[in-house]
């Protein structure tokens, strides 16, 4: 190698162009500290900088960008929820999603596929009608369709599901889409970074300095930062952070597992979900079948995978698509889902002044990434919850006024 080139490589004045700026040191203070560089945290940072002009912001990440549930979900985006709060909120998110690739100048592989929620029983079909009516009332495109529409969209399906769970109909949601999840975190991260937000990876939060009920600073593995506002967006690690500020919530952590098959020729365009068979499936742009089931049955703060999961999910997959019997499973993984008793998130202010929470995203957080960032940025700036998230405040438990979001994914109901 010529010496000149080596000198060039070692000179800090000419760094390799990177997606994110590397910051040697933490500043002694920031206007806002965001814990968690996943989709939600970076999205909040992005909207703080873009829409509110607040750029003295630091995003702290224990691991790496998008390495938590942002990179572990099955990438489905939809808004066909059951409660008015849920429908309005997720619909706003879907609208934001549609412009995101242009916004970031980054291809998110956002693909509008259409989304079928299959009904195998009369009672399931009744719930579908209910959801469809709530959706239509709020201008969300959803309708109940018969089994023939399912067969037309996915000709390989066995409509009888091996004879014991015949498909009676489905809730069809045309805006249902998939997107490349890592790119979402990168896009928000880069957008925030370009506007001056600092992202510090490999930086763990060790404690939160609260004095007289107010946030004063954050203790990290790389030193102390003083700040008056902290946003906690750490999904499955939320209870650990809440312990530091002594705030009690109903959050509990169960793992959610998923797996992908080897890549095969494109044959499945829509996204299919069956609550009764505990299956959701879509085919990625690479040809892999992305599959998920339901929550693991007990609390666990880890991301181990199990053979039980692969066996159970494969059994149900074969009931729907018998021709897949020769297809191999390529990878499996898990994420820690922060669940709430009513399947709605916990967002907004907390009893600790200056400590804001974006949590309870259990199995339904990816699709909400844009709208969470936008509404939390608004909440942080105005110190009052955005109108779209007032139904998700943590006070609802104390007041026995639960939201009851039964349109959520991967939960039995």
């Amino acid at each position: 190698m010529p010496w000149r080139l080596l000198r060039f490589a070692l000179n800090k004045k000419h760094p390799e162009p990177r997606m994110f700026t590397f910051h040697e040191k933490l500043k002694p203070s920031y206007d806002v500290v965001i814990i968690g560089a996943g989709g939600h945290g970076l999205s909040a940072a992005y909207y703080l900088a873009k829409e509110h002009g607040i750029t003295n912001v630091c995003v702290l990440e224990k691991g790496y960008i998008g390495g938590g549930n942002t990179g572990r979900n099955t990438t489905i985006i939809r808004s066909n929820y059951l409660t008015p709060e849920g429908v309005k909120f997720y619909d706003e998110s879907v609208k934001l999603w549609q412009d995101l690739s242009t916004d970031f100048d980054l291809n998110l592989f956002y693909a509008n596929r259409g989304h079928f929620t299959l009904a195998h029983t009369d009672s399931a079909l009744r719930t579908m009608r209910w959801r469809a009516e709530v959706n239509k009332h709020y201008g969300v495109n959803s309708e109940v369709v018969g089994p023939e529409a399912v067969k037309e969209a996915a000709p390989m399906i066995d409509l009888s599901c091996a004879g014991h769970a015949p498909i009676l109909g489905a809730l069809y949601h045309a805006p249902g889409s998939v997107a490349r999840h890592d790119a979402v975190a990168w896009g928000y991260g880069r957008g925030a970074d370009q506007r001056g937000v600092e992202i510090h990876q490999q930086t763990e939060v060790l404690g939160i300095d609260v004095q007289a009920g107010k946030v004063k600073g954050v203790k990290t593995s790389r030193g102390y930062i003083s700040t008056g506002k902290v946003l906690c967006a750490v999904a499955g690690s939320t209870p650990r952070i809440l312990k530091m500020v002594d705030v009690k919530t109903p959050l509990y952590i169960h793992p959610l597992q998923a797996m992908v098959s080897e890549p095969i020729k494109p044959w499945l365009d829509p996204i299919l979900v069956s609550g009764s068979l505990h299956v959701y499936i879509s085919q990625s742009a690479r040809g892999e079948l992305v599959m998920g089931a339901s929550l693991d049955p007990y609390e666990l703060h880890g991301t181990r995978s199990t053979l039980d999961f692969v066996e159970g999910l494969s059994t149900h997959m074969l009931e729907m698509f018998p021709f897949l019997s020769g297809v191999k499973v390529m990878r499996q993984w898990a994420g820690m889902a922060d669940m709430t008793p009513d399947f709605a998130p916990i967002m907004g202010k907390t009893p600790v002044e200056g400590f804001y929470l974006d949590s309870g995203w259990g199995t339904w957080g990816f699709k909400a990434t844009p709208v969470c960032g936008k509404t939390m940025a608004h909440t942080l700036v105005n110190d009052t919850p955005h109108p779209l998230i007032t139904g998700f405040s943590m006070d609802r438990f104390r007041n026995y006024a639960l939201t009851g979001e039964k349109g959520a994914a991967s939960v039995g109901h």
Partner: protein, 85 residues
């Protein structure tokens, strides 16, 4: 964890068991304030650690307590509930 030891039936596959959450003392419903009662009904200790949990061996309907590390998924011991909690 694939095997859990039932105090009555010995080691059995975990799929035979049902998990019912942490053992938590119930406040007296007649004396507790609304806030205390809501705290008992909804709030949970979601942080990782060694917890005492209710489990049930479903084929024999045997309820018992397991002490489990919820970060490592290791069961330290299982035993029957003794007296009032």
């Amino acid at each position: 964890m694939k095997i859990l030891t039932c105090p009555l039936n010995g080691p059995r596959p975990v799929s035979e068991f049902f998990y019912w959450g942490e053992v938590r003392p119930m406040p007296n419903p007649n004396l507790a304030s609304d806030d205390e009662w809501a705290d008992y009904v909804f709030n949970r200790n979601g942080a990782p650690g060694v917890k005492k949990e209710w489990w049930c061996h479903t084929p024999s309907n045997t309820w018992f307590i397991a002490e489990r590390d919820t970060e490592k998924d290791v069961v330290l011991k299982t035993y029957f509930h003794q007296g009032e909690e």
